[in-house]
Symmetry: C2
Subunit: 210 residues, 2 copies
DNA sequence: AAAAGTATCCGTATTTATACGGATGTTTTT
DNA sequence: AAAAACATCCGTATAAATACGGATACTTTT
């Protein structure tokens, strides 16, 4: 009976080797690609080596995991990716899911959980443990009913506010009217559903906008 | 020639085994303790098994790495600890150092760096790589010249401010005068060296006070 | 092409924060 | 025991944010 083909993309060889070693002990898995970066991975895909599942580190130099996810979704939509990250930050998790990840694991997951995640995703399901799910819920509730992005100008003004600048100081710095600054501030408050500026800064920090 | 005695404390067996395996390949190291928690570790120390160096996970259930550090410093000051963590947050790093850690590694460090850290610390030096050092510097500059802790009342008020409450609302909620709230806010701003409330919230978020 | 978003700016008014200064009494630290 | 920190509260004044409302023109999205 054929084994499931697995790919690993991670810039740390120690980690890749550890996973490779673990999966080699299983009867039903075979590591067919072990790449240290996304470019190498796609190069191997192009050669016709197609895994069913990818274990993907998010934090890599040059081409990060999110970029790999997006490209994978476009070019090889049948390959299912499980994101693996050091970061338990809800924003990372949400970005992975929006990028098409089928699962999310922290790098300190034990081998039992790793194998369970692989099994779950190979069956076509998504894998997020209790803690990860909780963080997703937290971020979703933080983002509000209809999450909205801040415009470039809003981001610029947000940072200046967070740095302690007053509306007058920001207006002078950006060569715009104080009323313009007020309008942007008000629009941000509406977008993030907060009632005043301290809460805006707090929420922006929680959403990793700062 | 005698080997250096190393202890490992981490709740993930996969990680402990990986480190154990790696160190076993080295001629000059010997893993004498491999514990899944601090309690087991101290129990083994009590039996007279004394390593020169400890590789210590910070995030563990029940007795976390910081508690282990503090107890180690008191009871076995000759044992040098290297903190190992998923978190690259400067606050974790600073807390480790203040707790007596001789080094700090991220869990995704490669084997070369791990061995270098161990060597460095066994020689009596401290090991912090460039990135970790940078984060320390960032936090130190955030904390200002003379870092001050916020009092319990200040913390309470800080959270309410971050939640979008006005001075009047906080006063009503805590059954104190608005002037009292104003004084606390002003004192916090002085302690954290900021110029207004948005900057206070931003800095508090950066210092993980929220 | 139409709608929505972005970036700009305004009048008027009220609320809130900040800035000076001050104070007392209790608790904790030195 | 003395000093410092904490928690409480005040008068007066100014600055800043917020709250209502409104607007134009350009760019992007639908």
């Amino acid at each position: 009976m054929d084994k499931f083909k697995i790919a690993i993309v991670d810039d740390h060889q120690l980690f890749r080797d550890g996973i490779h070693s673990l999966l080699s002990k299983q009867d039903n898995f075979e590591v067919v690609i072990s790449s240290e970066n996304g470019k190498d991975f796609f190069k191997k895909l192009k050669k016709g080596i197609l895994p069913e599942l990818l274990l993907l580190d998010l934090t890599m130099p040059e081409m990060n995991g999110f970029e790999v996810l997006l490209k994978l979704k476009k070019k090889y939509p049948r390959i299912k990716a499980i994101a693996i990250s050091m970061h338990d930050d809800g924003n990372y998790i949400m970005q992975s899911i929006r990028g098409g990840a089928y699962g999310y694991l922290l790098k300190n997951a034990d081998e039992e959980e790793l194998l369970l995640a692989i099994d779950t995703v190979l069956k076509g399901n998504k894998y997020f443990n209790q803690e990860i799910s909780q963080r997703m819920i937290n971020i979703m509730s933080l983002e509000g009913v209809s999450p909205k992005k801040l415009s470039p100008k809003e981001m610029e003004i947000l940072k200046l506010i967070a740095d302690g600048q007053t509306t007058k100081e920001i207006a002078q710095k950006l060569f715009i009217s104080t009323r313009t600054v007020e309008t942007h501030r008000n629009n941000m408050m509406k977008k993030l559903e907060v009632k005043n500026t301290p809460e805006l800064i707090n929420k922006a920090a929680q959403l990793s906008l700062l």
